[in-house]
């Protein structure tokens, strides 16, 4: 199944904005897709729709029976359309909060806080982009692919999955003009040596100016190695347990390399997007 996130109004230059709001959105639909994932589409007010790819929201999840999610849950923006007043999230049921999200029906309200954090950047020098992602990470990268198309960049998307059927957003990435390569665990093509060889070949062909990835430690380490070897920059969207999502509580820190030092940065505020070279797997 192909998921088309409604991103009709990506700003040409994604001016990073720190402004956000707490708002009530109305559920338009909340559908299972691909067995493991669900797509939540909301009717949201304009004040929360000045989004950039890579930013996220903090959702106040409904309380499923017998469970008690208390804190908000962070979710990457999968789609946003200021014109249509829509906002989309692609999520995987992991625990109480996402089970709560799964109970939402059309017409229900959901309290959302966002957009939060710093999105991806796309300097002019990065014309040939390579995107490497797995699992729900694809949710984070989908709006980036759309932005690449709008800015006329060439895009290769490597979609890693357990089996080829689970490689979710293949058609979506293709519709954004990306060359899509599916790698999976069943034939071993998703393993690091195979992947590395694949990417080395593209680099040799001059097809990679920058990487984008998200989540997986294994992919990060691999891309850091390749990046260092070939001088290729890139960005990664990272995760951490959060409380406030705004930068106040310091719950969400991760260590980063800054010159010779290791410093803590807040995933919710300085991130969730960071330079691949500074990230620590």
């Amino acid at each position: 199944m192909t998921l088309i996130p409604s991103i009709l109004s990506v700003p040409p230059s994604p001016g990073v904005t720190a402004r956000c709001a707490e708002a009530r959105a109305i559920v338009l639909s909340n559908m299972p897709v691909n067995g493991e994932y669900r797509l939540l589409t909301l009717d949201a007010p304009a004040e929360v729709l000045d989004c950039a790819p890579g930013q996220f929201f903090q959702l106040l999840c409904p309380v499923p029976e017998g469970e008690h999610p208390f804190l908000r849950r962070p979710m990457s923006i999968y789609g946003y359309d200021a014109h249509a007043g829509q906002l989309q999230f692609l999520y995987k049921i992991a625990g109480a909060g996402t089970r709560g999200l799964a109970t939402l029906r059309a017409g229900d309200t959901l309290n959302v806080l966002g957009p939060l954090g710093q999105g991806f950047t796309m300097p002019d020098a990065w014309q040939n982009l390579m995107l490497v992602a797995r699992g729900v990470g694809l949710a984070t990268l989908a709006p980036l692919a759309r932005m690449a198309q709008q800015q006329g960049r060439s895009l290769t998307a490597i979609c890693s999955a357990r089996s080829p059927e689970l490689a979710m957003s293949v058609d979506l990435f293709r519709s954004y003009g990306a060359e899509v390569i599916v790698v999976h665990d069943e034939d071993g093509s998703s393993e690091v040596p195979a992947l590395e060889a694949l990417i080395e070949a593209r680099i040799a062909a001059g097809r990679v100016d920058a990487f984008y990835t998200c989540g997986s430690r294994r992919l990060l380490t691999m891309l850091q190695g390749l990046g260092q070897k070939h001088g290729i920059p890139g960005e990664i969207a990272m995760e951490q347990q959060m409380a406030c999502g705004l930068g106040m509580c310091q719950a969400c820190v991760r260590p980063f390399r800054e010159g010779n030092e290791v410093v803590h940065r807040r995933v919710c505020r300085e991130g969730p997007v960071f330079s691949i070279s500074e990230a620590i797997a």
Partner: protein
């Protein structure tokens, strides 16, 4: 009809309203969401003297009706406070309360002197943070250590000095009275309660630090009890803190005897909550014909007189 007067006095300070943030749950980042000058005061995250990294992650987890945190006190140190934070916060009208802490009396006293700068309205001594020393130990666990540290701090600063208590002590009233006797200008009840949570699937503690401080509605009855106990035992004002999320919660603490309240965890669920509480309190006073909060503070009705 003129709008009701929400102002409260906490010792020699007057705040435009009784709503202020709790230390560690507030920063300049919240200005993204509402105008921070509507608040009664600004209370900053505890600072320590040197640079510190804080605790391992995960630093938070959620609970039924609350959360645990073991942030620790990541601190950029006194220089960052003086050079960057103080100028930033001085631009606001709301009075600035600086929370400080230290591992030793000497360091604590030195820090009190160093933060006693123009633009600082009061110092909140965090003598209660359960994460600083192992197993929840902190100065505020005992009246004697409380007395000693407050005496040292009092000698170093002329600013109003608040003592923030811990619910982990067995003798909160004696601790509050010790702080008062050594010159505390207000008592804050309270910091977080030491708790723990285990992920039964991984069998690991949900916090990197194993144990952490519990906050949110789940601890409200404990914080309210301490507020009531201390307000009855002390002459200095008491500031309530713990689980406050609704107008009824604010009123409950004021009725119990709090001169003002701090809101922490509720801001994580709803970043606009403090602004909303101020507006709701104003509306409520108007509706009820309450012209000043003096009519509410300490107005608890104990059947048959004093409490058991």
């Amino acid at each position: 009809m003129s709008p009701p007067d929400l102002s409260v006095k906490v010792g020699e300070l007057t705040f435009a309203n009784p709503i202020m943030p709790a230390s560690g749950t507030f920063s300049e980042d919240l200005s993204d969401v509402f105008d921070l000058d509507v608040l009664g005061a600004h209370v900053l995250k505890t600072i320590m003297h040197g640079k510190r990294a804080g605790n391992p992650t995960p630093r938070v987890c959620d609970l039924q009706g609350g959360m645990l945190n073991a942030i620790g006190i990541p601190s950029k140190g006194i220089d960052d406070f003086r050079d960057r934070m103080l100028p930033y916060w001085s631009a606001y009208k709301a009075p600035l309360v600086v929370s400080i802490s230290a591992h030793s009396m000497d360091e604590f006293a030195r820090l009190a002197a160093e933060v006693s700068l123009p633009g600082v309205a009061a110092i909140e001594a965090n003598i209660s943070c359960p994460n600083i020393e192992a197993d929840g130990n902190a100065f505020a666990m005992r009246p004697d250590t409380t007395a000693e540290v407050m005496r040292r701090l009092r000698a170093e600063t002329d600013l109003p000095l608040w003592a923030k208590l811990t619910p982990n002590t067995g003798e909160p009233v004696a601790v509050a009275m010790a702080a008062e006797a050594e010159g505390a200008d207000a008592i804050v009840t309270a910091n977080t309660a030491l708790g723990m949570s285990i992920d039964v699937r991984t069998r690991q503690p949900r916090l990197g630090n194993v144990m952490g401080g519990m906050s949110g509605p789940a601890v409200k009855p404990i914080a309210l009890r301490m507020t009531y106990q201390c307000a009855h035992a002390c002459r200095v004002p008491v500031i309530g803190c713990g689980g406050i999320a609704t107008l009824d919660d604010v009123l409950e603490f004021l009725i119990a005897g709090a001169a003002a309240v701090q809101v922490g965890t509720a801001t994580f669920r709803s970043p606009t909550v403090m602004a909303r509480l101020i507006a709701e309190l104003s509306d409520w006073m108007q509706e009820q014909g309450v012209t000043s909060l003096g009519e509410i503070i300490g107005s608890v009705q104990i059947p048959g007189g004093e409490a058991a």
